[in-house]
Symmetry: C2
Subunit: 145 residues, 2 copies
């Protein structure tokens, strides 16, 4: 099976939203993220590290270290996260696996797929992580104050 995003990307999205819900200024450790979100520790470490390298997260070593969203937080979108992890291909790939996704030579699902894709990415681009995090009701994300 396969679902829109890679596992790695799903983990990244979950983690970024978690960081979006933590009070600004506070660093969150991999340990906490891994435990709360039930993501393999070292695997998550890699993912966060790469997001830090790509400029989406801040990281700090040492005893009070951890990760936080890079400021200004309002500028971070999930679309950026997806781009950073899975790359931009999804935005112009054919859902049936044909070489190119084109208006001129559409596959049988083209219209529906383009509609879905643009609808989703509109949300992903237009709302920042803070806004999206607010809409979540997953228990793990509560009581982070």
């Amino acid at each position: 099976m396969s679902l829109l995003f890679s596992r790695q990307c799903e983990y990244a999205l979950q983690a970024v939203l978690y960081l979006a819900k933590t009070p600004s200024g506070k660093m969150t450790s991999i340990k906490e993220l891994s435990a709360k979100l039930d993501i393999p520790y070292h695997y998550l470490a890699k993912i966060l590290q790469s997001l830090a390298i790509k400029g989406l997260l801040l990281s700090e070593k040492g005893r009070t270290g951890g990760f936080a969203l890079r400021i200004p937080v309002e500028h971070i979108t999930l679309a950026q996260v997806i781009d950073a992890v899975d790359g931009p291909a999804i935005k112009h790939s054919c859902v049936m696996g044909f070489g190119e996704c084109s208006e001129d030579n559409p596959c049988a699902l083209h219209n529906e797929w383009v509609h879905l894709r643009t609808g989703l990415f509109d949300v992903l681009n237009d709302k920042n992580v803070i806004q999206l995090a607010r809409e979540m009701k997953k228990p793990v994300y509560e009581m982070l104050a």
Copy 2:
């Protein structure tokens, strides 16, 4: 990267639509499908075989053998193909990778995702393969008469 369907499923969809466009009664060989659709021969063989076992395709051995859609063709949908290859999970999985996709505990993308997913599957369920095949403009699928 990852995109809605597994590679195997993409191949299956492409092949089934190809069969939907061939004149009824005619059997199409793996060789032709593999060449026209540019899908690895033996891999495709496996996929078609499994679709035949699951009752979506008819197969015939021997010199004039090949595959064709099982009749009545009008009852075959791409949703069935997807179900047969990737399984039903996609229809109730969380796009962000959380354990369950629920209305009560929605993730940040739940509303958008559910809306888009149901829209897509409405098409996949309501239109049969003949109807969908007609909408294609991919060159490979032309001149099959």
